[in-house]
């Protein structure tokens, strides 16, 4: 007789979902509605109007409201990461969708989905955080000298070239932010690594800047992925909604004269 597979039952059933982040206080009239929501103990009724969104984001991720130095570092990094620009492929995908009248609620998810990858995306941010965490004990200059640029121009996740050149803005912000008193070991290491990579025409990418800052702010790799995408959201929203008002002609279909179908041999 065929042996039936063993069915594991631990972990299933009526277990309550655990969280130490959010506590919902049920309404007296309806247990499915919350009359208050506490984030790490703070009531939203008290927080709203007293703290900024950046404060709340930090609180939600780290468990305490940020110090003044922490919020200034966090804001500086978010502002530095935010301007992807209308040429960035993730923004472009959302813009092109918008002129083709993709329904509005889908535009931000389109951009963020495209931004999930291993080049300039949240996957690269995740890997860069892991790289920095395990590289901290190494000498950054020696690590840069020992690195080789791969086929995609990467010396390491978060560090390399774009269009065969050193991306000026992330390298600039990394140096500037790494000089702050509030900068930690990861930012300083990443900055030295990036500066040394200049010899190879490479340096920090936006993902490397984000990774170093997020680690010094105490975020996990999983949190860093999401915050990286959050930082990109304003320009995805703004640029896609702007171009959508201009019609199809604003991003015209490439004509056949500029499209070649390569004939496969055999």
């Amino acid at each position: 007789m065929e042996k039936r597979p063993e069915i594991r039952t631990e972990g299933v059933g009526d277990a309550k979902t655990p969280t130490s982040i959010v506590e919902e206080v049920p309404s007296r009239d309806n247990p499915y509605l919350a009359e208050d929501v506490r984030t790490h103990g703070y009531s939203v009724r008290e927080l709203a109007g007293r703290v900024t969104f950046t404060d709340l984001l930090f609180l939600t991720l780290r468990g305490d409201l940020p110090t003044r130095a922490e919020v200034r570092l966090f804001d500086a990094v978010l502002v530095a990461l935010s301007p992807l620009g209308p040429r960035h492929p993730a923004v472009r995908a959302a813009m092109y969708a918008s002129v083709s009248k993709t329904v509005h609620p889908n535009l931000l998810p389109v951009g963020l989905s495209v931004l999930a990858g291993a080049h300039l995306g949240s996957e690269e941010c995740y890997k860069a955080m892991k790289f920095l965490r395990r590289s901290l004990a190494l000498d950054p200059a020696a690590a840069a000298d020992a690195s080789a640029l791969d086929a995609d121009g990467k010396a390491a996740p978060g560090f390399g070239t774009r269009f065969n050149g050193r991306d000026p803005l992330p390298a600039h912000f990394l140096s500037r932010i790494a000089r702050r008193k509030s900068a930690g070991a990861h930012l300083r290491w990443a900055d030295r690594f990036s500066r040394r990579l200049a010899k190879k025409g490479a340096g920090a990418l936006a993902t490397g800047l984000a990774a170093a800052a997020f680690l010094d702010l105490g975020f996990s790799e999983a949190q860093g992925c999401g915050v990286f995408q959050l930082a990109a959201a304003p320009q995805i929203i703004a640029l896609s909604s702007e171009i959508g008002t201009k019609g199809l002609g604003a991003m015209p279909f490439l004509p056949d004269s500029r499209y070649e179908i390569v004939k496969e041999e055999g």
Binding site: A97, L120, D152, Y259
Partner: protein, 276 residues
């Protein structure tokens, strides 16, 4: 206290009419054993339609609809949903995220499922009702186009114009396949052809595939929701092709732009305020 009995009844409990997983043994779908009745006997597409519709369509209808998906799978990254796949590939985004991005883009009021449901269907049904009531189609159409002109809108019937090229090369193969499979045009499809002729006379426009598609499916008894649900994945194959090609090329090599390829029309450079 509010009456929460609907939610109380399913709190911590799932009651499914679709089926489910019998752990370690099988899965049930709409009363069938998936492993005994479907595995190797039904196509994935047929099972997808069953799950979307709640009923197994005829083999002919399934075959027709799956073939239609072929016509919606052009591997051209200029098509907007496919471009999302290409942009994802050029950033080394995982395949599933790329396919999801393409599917999200395809929900378009201009050419996708949303266009059929929100743009084509309402006006098509109004015109259909007027024609069914006995009014000459040219008269009904003329009134409709005049009203659009007065409202400052493009004088065309949604579904009877196309953004890039007049006419739609996919209609004839779809019609020929429907005929070969034994389908006979019903009242909606018949009206769509009559409206197509009327549009050609009135403004030179022609029916696009979306108008034909919804008319055919209406004659098969599909509701609006069912059209949307069965069409959710229809552009995926084209998205994947474009994603793969961009992924296999250098990063950011899909339609790269220089800074001066953007025409900036905003405020001139100005200094930022001191720390706030």
């Amino acid at each position: 206290m509010d009456d929460t009995r609907i939610w109380d009844a399913v709190r911590g409990f799932i009651r499914s009419t679709k089926g489910g997983f019998i752990m370690g043994q099988d899965a049930v779908s709409h009363g069938h054993s998936m492993l005994r009745d479907f595995f190797g006997k039904k196509s994935w597409f047929e099972v997808m339609l069953l799950h979307a519709l709640g009923r197994m369509p005829s083999r002919e209808l399934s075959q027709w609809l799956e073939s239609v998906y072929v016509g919606l799978s052009y591997p051209d990254p200029r098509i907007w949903c496919n471009a999302a796949g290409s942009y994802a590939g050029t950033l080394r985004t995982p395949t599933i995220a790329a396919v999801c991005a393409g599917a999200l883009v395809s929900d378009s009021l201009m050419y996708g499922s949303a266009s059929v449901i929100d743009s084509i269907l309402p006006d098509f049904e109004r015109l259909f009702a007027a024609a069914q009531a006995g009014r000459p189609i040219d008269e009904v159409l003329s009134e409709y186009l005049d009203a659009k002109r007065r409202a400052g809108k493009k004088p065309a019937v949604p579904g009877f114009s196309r953004p890039l090229v007049n006419g739609d090369e996919r209609i004839e193969p779809a019609r020929a396949l429907a005929k070969a499979l034994g389908f006979i045009p019903g009242p909606y499809e018949t009206f769509a052809y009559a409206l197509d002729d009327a549009c050609r006379r009135a403004n030179g426009e022609q029916m696009n595939y979306g108008a034909y598609h919804q008319a055919f499916l209406r004659d098969q008894g599909f509701t609006r929701e069912e059209m949307m649900r069965t069409g959710s994945l229809m552009t995926s194959a084209g998205v994947i092709a474009c994603y793969v090609e961009a992924y296999d090329n250098p990063p950011e090599a899909f339609l790269p732009l220089r800074c001066d390829d953007i025409r900036y029309e905003g405020r001139p450079a100005r200094p930022a305020p001191r720390k706030r």
